[in-house]
């Protein structure tokens, strides 16, 4: 009797938390396509021989990797708010700039691109020198060297760590509604789970279901990235590429 009740409560929670899970997914999916190119630019900037580019990229990466995302969220929201009357309103974009569905991904992009840039920078440094030199010897233009040699190598080398970063980013989406105002019923997993908890004080149920969603989606990201990994390494024979869920732990 008690068992079945618990079971239905569990199933109910899964149904209730499905929509909030979409908000976490949205924040991650909206940030990745923007964060990726920005991170590549920053990595190239950091590796650039130009002192100014290098300094700016280094400073940016250091600052955003060196401070907590939680603070970055608070800081960005209060700065955006302070600029509302003087900048966003005259431009007529105040409704967009301060909306959590925009500002959330915006801050996440600022944050994740710093982490990802460091990963790509590390990969750039380990691109085999011989391959680059060979391409130059063939008389390729600088752009072609980058496009044909450096870029695919960098991507292949950086991919496992970048996968890891995407999972971190997905987990970081929990902080959006701890810091930004909640609009109507737009709530994410943590938000909704806390709300359910405050209704009946059942600690174990609601947070476990939220954790389950995070776990499943994380595994899905690892799996999807594994497919990509296989694709990136398709030319490498002999070495077997592991497709499986094998999380890395460093950020």
């Amino acid at each position: 009797m008690f068992e079945t009740l618990q079971q239905t409560a569990f199933v109910q929670d899964i149904i209730i938390l499905a929509k909030p899970a979409l908000f976490n997914l949205y924040f991650a999916l909206a940030s990745i396509p923007m964060g990726f190119p920005f991170a590549v630019l920053l990595a190239i900037g950091k590796a650039s021989p130009n002192r100014l580019f290098s300094l700016v990229s280094r400073g940016y990466i250091y600052a955003f990797r060196g401070s907590p995302l939680f603070i970055q969220f608070f800081m960005c929201y209060s700065i955006m708010l302070a600029l509302n009357q003087s900048v966003w309103k005259p431009l007529g974009i105040n409704h967009i700039m301060l909306h959590p569905l925009f500002l959330g991904p915006f801050v996440l992009v600022l944050n994740t691109s710093a982490y990802a840039a460091e990963i790509f920078y590390g990969a750039l440094k380990t691109v085999p020198k011989g391959e680059v030199e060979a391409a130059q010897a063939y008389g390729m233009s600088r752009w072609n060297v980058f496009r044909i040699v450096t870029w695919p190598n960098m991507l292949r080398l950086a991919w496992p760590a970048y996968t890891n970063e995407m999972v971190f980013l997905f987990h970081a989406t929990t902080l959006v509604y701890f810091t930004l105002p909640v609009i109507n019923e737009q709530k994410d997993l943590m938000n909704k789970a806390s709300e359910l908890f405050e209704r009946d004080y059942n600690v174990f149920l609601h947070f476990s279901v939220a954790a389950l969603y995070f776990l499943l989606i994380s595994i899905f990201i690892f799996w999807l990235a594994g497919l990509m990994q296989k694709h990136l390494n398709r030319h490498i024979t002999g070495e077997k590429v592991r497709l499986f869920f094998k999380p890395r732990y460093l950020r």
Partner: protein, 281 residues
């Protein structure tokens, strides 16, 4: 002392500078500066817990007894799949409830258990949480989360200890337990340090979440100080200054990161004394 400094400054630099200095040294600001202690305690306490959990986790992962190995792998995988925020919120709640459940088993009379409707079933089983308790639990939660990360680093580092040394040790007649503790664990620190430094940086940044556990930490006070005040009875009337305070915190954490980097560089140098094989990367 402070007052005389403020009068001095006022004389040298004028009213405004004196007033600003008086403002940023009032009790409310002092409380903000003092609240840094929570951040530091949580970071250090969390790091100690993380190393303990990390060693346990790594030992489990290392174990040749399969169920232990599974527990180790399960622990590190679950923690990696779930956000740290969730753990930090969930663990104290769950722990409190568990303690109260056990207390109720021992202290509540069976009559009170029978008629109880709320939680906990009787007053004696009530556990009052104070900042100290929350702080302890925050350390443990941070330890659990980052212990999983540390477990992986330590596990990897143990594998990196040259096999020959371990074989030599057992050839000298050390028991497997001695070989593990006196050779593998002693030697692995040098290989684990770069990874552990990375885990420490993550942990340090995660201490910004303390306010979620009702601890009046630097983030909480920054919000209180920065919020606009329109009521003269409360203190200085000022508009919304939050971004300035959050910017200070932003710089504070960057500074902490820099200091940590220096510290770990020093540790690495000390640890690698007498070791020929450590590469810089």
């Amino acid at each position: 002392m402070l007052e005389s400094v403020i009068t001095q400054i006022t004389q040298w630099l004028g009213e405004d500078a004196g007033a600003s200095l008086a403002y940023i040294t009032n009790g409310k600001h002092m409380a903000w500066y003092a609240s840094v202690r929570y951040t530091l305690i949580a970071a250090v306490g969390g790091a100690v817990c993380a190393v303990l959990f990390g060693l346990t986790g790594a030992a489990l992962k290392q174990s040749s007894f399969l169920p232990f190995k599974w527990i180790g792998d399960f622990y590190t995988t679950i923690v990696r799949g779930v956000p740290d925020v969730l753990f930090i919120l969930f663990f104290p709640l769950a722990f409190e409830k568990t303690v109260e459940f056990v207390l109720a088993r021992f202290t509540c009379s069976s009559e009170s258990l029978a008629v109880a409707t709320g939680w906990p079933p009787c007053d004696a089983a009530q556990w009052y949480l104070r900042t100290g308790d929350y702080l302890t639990m925050a350390c443990v939660s941070l330890g659990i989360v980052y212990g999983a990360f540390a477990a992986n680093v330590i596990h990897g580092a143990m594998q990196a200890v040259p096999k020959g040394q371990l074989e030599a040790a057992s050839a000298y007649g050390f028991t497997p337990k001695q070989v593990f503790w006196r050779f593998r664990v002693r030697q692995m620190w040098i290989y684990a340090l770069p990874g552990l430094s990375n885990v420490w940086m993550l942990l340090l940044k995660a201490t910004s979440l303390l306010s979620l556990l009702q601890i009046a930490d630097i983030v909480q006070w920054a919000g209180r100080l920065g919020s606009a005040n329109y009521f003269p009875g409360v203190g200085l009337v000022h508009p919304d200054w939050r971004w300035k305070y959050y910017f200070v915190l932003f710089l504070f954490f960057i500074l902490m990161t820099m200091l940590s980097e220096r510290f770990f560089e020093m540790l690495q140098r000390r640890a690698s004394r007498g070791m020929a094989l450590v590469e810089s990367n």
